[in-house]
Amino acid sequence: MARTKQYIHTILICAGLIFYYGAYGLTNQQNNDNKAVIKITAKRFEYSPPVVELKKGVPVTLELTALDRIHGFNVPGLGLRADVPPGQTVHVDLLPDKAGQYIFLCDIFCGNGHGEMNGVIVVKD
């Protein structure tokens, strides 16, 4: 009985971690500079994950890939933008220095639904 409880406990923790990392894009990798690497994929008309949580003052690298066609990755509030062509991996370094929510959007028109293709970077203190 105690072992069963322990299994359930472990499964719940794992499920929680999968949800947390999956839904909010916290990284499970680091690059050569020891920066956390956050993978973001783009396809019509969504980014995955749609919410990326960062910690203020902690540098990260955003690793961007497009799954279908070229998309833009624009974070006006942070002064970041990049083209993300299909078949390429695009790296964008970011040092978030101010807490807040920063919308990112596709700024290369990609069809019906383009206007709703966006996500948010949440920078926490």
Binding site: Y102, I103, I108
Partner: protein, 296 residues
């Protein structure tokens, strides 16, 4: 031509409420010697082909209703301008052309024959304006009307929402032929200034166009794209966006994420309308009159 407010008020009897913005500005004709009042009509963002009734329960009836409203204006406007997104986007080039042909057929019902078209990103961004040009002609152009120089800019056929260096050079060359006090109206689809870049409500190199326009004393910009009336000033240059004829969008920054505003059966056609733009002497540079689309 004598045009007074009574002509617009008369519209209320046809079911279109009238709102006058009454913008105060310089008399753009003061130094030009041109003394001919006139008005034109701005229609925008008709999105012909959009068919989600959650956001417009009358998607095929709204544009014809707007055209009927324009045809009831007495006197008729000197000309009409559509500031982009004539059609709703589609991946299928054949459907795109079909929508443009249907739109053109409906627009031909306008009694005023002088109609100017402009592309929006829904018309032109997926094929760099190829289909649009087949139906409506040049993506950017100029024309003169009763002493005012009109410049239609294309900030949509580049899917990155840029005017581009060659169009900016073309604009610069055109402006070089104007005197500093020449009355100039710029027509665009997207805002030239950074209204809400996080919602795609900007032009990547729009600041360069504004910089070119800034030395000119009498410039006014009319645009669409944001599906609502909005007024902004960059230096001495006013920018006025028009409402849509398909669905409204929220006030910039009023909600976390941009979304279409749902149709409300209790207030059909809410937020949809046309605009009369009247030159007046003396006094305001332009008077804007917003007319609602209404049932009945």
């Amino acid at each position: 031509m004598s045009l007074n407010r009574r002509d617009f008020i008369k519209l209320a009897t046809y079911g279109g409420a009238v709102f006058s913005t009454g913008l105060i500005g310089k008399n753009v004709f003061a130094k030009t010697g041109e003394q001919d009042e006139f008005y034109f009509v701005q229609l925008s963002d008709t999105h012909w082909g959009f068919n989600d009734k959650k956001f417009n329960a009358d998607p095929e009836g709204t544009l014809p209703r707007a055209i009927e409203l324009v045809n009831q204006l007495d006197p008729q406007p000197d000309f009409i301008v559509f500031t982009g997104d004539l059609t709703h986007t589609t991946d299928d080039p054949n459907i795109r052309r079909k929508r443009m042909a249907e739109f053109q057929d409906i627009a031909r019902k306008l009694n005023t024959r002088n109609v100017r078209y402009m592309p929006g990103e829904h018309d032109a961004s997926l094929d760099n304006g190829e289909a649009y040009k087949e139906f409506f002609g040049d993506l950017n152009y100029t024309f003169d009307h009763k002493g005012i120089h009109f410049i239609a800019l294309d900030n949509v056929s580049d899917p990155r929402a840029r005017l581009g260096d060659s169009q900016l050079a073309w604009l610069s060359e055109d402006l070089n032929q104007r005197t500093k006090d020449a009355p100039i109206v710029v027509l665009t689809h997207r805002p030239l200034f950074d209204l809400a870049p996080e919602w795609g409500w900007s032009t990547q190199d729009g600041a360069k166009a504004i910089e070119l326009l800034m030395p000119f004393e009498n410039v006014t910009v009319f645009y669409g794209h944001i599906h609502q009336e909005h007024h902004h000033q960059t230096g001495h240059i006013p920018h006025h966006s028009a409402r849509s004829l398909i669905f409204p969008l929220p006030v910039p920054g009023s909600v976390e994420k941009k979304h279409k505003i749902a149709w409300d059966d209790a207030q059909p056609y809410r937020g949809l309308g046309i605009r009369n733009i009247e030159t007046t002497l003396p006094g305001a540079a332009f008077d804007l009159h917003e007319i609602n689309i209404k049932k009945g």
